[in-house]
Point group: C2
Chain length 206, copies 2
């Protein structure tokens, strides 16, 4: 248990966490600097010291999502699960729980920012892309680990991109309908596809 956090770092951390939470729940444009200061219980001088512009804060939020994929997202979702294909569905299950625990108001923060920001600055777009690449890279590694259970020539990168497509499109629809039905239908279709691929690799047909 570390209590050795320097006060300046603690303030920076509070501001960053407040921005992360507000961008995720209200959106980037709708979040004001005043909202962030109030939530972080910080003064504007501290904020501008660490983050001269609102975009600097957005970049730091996107970096923390990128760096948090392993410890914050995958580690809890994959705890106790070693089967690589089940890990993919356990990850999708984590998004289902996020929808469920928010009465389906949850949106993937990266996906929401990727569509909210219509003309993102190149540095912002690159960090959004880096988040997608990180997610896809970890899921591709799952499909690579299950390579002998998939038909020869099946591209693990394509499957990983398709898994991210499934999560993002399914969260969007469930959020809009305020119902898990579209999420569950999409994940069931992806599961059916994977089972057919596995049956094919076993030589059973689908």
């Amino acid at each position: 248990m570390s209590t050795q956090v320097a006060p300046a770092d603690a303030t920076r951390g509070r501001i960053l966490l407040a921005a992360l939470q507000l961008f995720a729940t209200k959106g980037y444009q709708s979040t004001s600097i005043a909202d962030i200061l109030q939530r972080a219980e910080a003064h504007s001088g501290s904020l501008y010291h660490f983050f001269p512009t609102k975009q600097d804060l957005l970049l730091a939020v996107l970096e923390s999502y990128r760096d948090g994929i392993g410890p914050m997202l995958l580690a809890p979702a994959w705890q106790g699960i070693s089967d690589p294909i089940e890990r993919v569905f356990a990850l999708l299950g984590a998004y289902r729980r996020a929808l469920e625990s928010t009465q389906c108001t949850y949106g993937c923060p990266i996906g929401s920012l990727a569509l909210e920001l219509h003309e993102p600055d190149p540095a912002v777009r690159e960090l959004l892309a880096a988040n997608f690449r990180g997610w896809v890279g970890h899921v591709r590694a799952c499909f690579e680990a299950a390579r002998e259970r998939l038909p020869r020539g099946q591209d693990p990168e394509q499957l990983a991109v398709f898994a991210l497509t499934t999560m993002e499109g399914a969260v969007m629809q469930s959020r809009t309908h305020r119902s898990l039905a579209a999420f569950d239908a999409s994940v069931a279709a992806l599961r059916d596809y994977l089972q057919r691929l596995e049956a094919d690799a076993r030589g059973e047909g689908s």
Copy 2:
């Protein structure tokens, strides 16, 4: 050829079209009333006469997307194509062309609004949902028309929701990466899934 459009209707139409285009290219929050007036070449009195609030304009834009799915989206995409499963891929092909012709800056306007508006008014959310239901309904009819080519018990609604999931998730990634690769990978995976379902229904295995 009708030249009998009343001037008031023409003004309302210009304002609506300007709002539709600006919400699609800049987003809802980033579009100001002044932007809309400038693009529509209209006076604020006309705008407030037809649309007392910015949200009234958003509702009218969402109604025009909902009513335009057939004539504006499906009719051009499906011209000359009668095979119901090919119609699904022709519809996805229309989104690919939208990405291609905009150097992958295109975003589905409904999907973008669905994620940009974090706490939409119930009337707005219902119209976003109605747009998704309309799209899914037309695509479900395609899968219903191809029912004998699919395995018994395969749910056409589930496949249609999954097709929308694929489009939305794939557009989001391609837009973010400024590359067609993620869109093409996702549609190729959906195509592979459909081909395996058809092979299964023919009794060939996948």
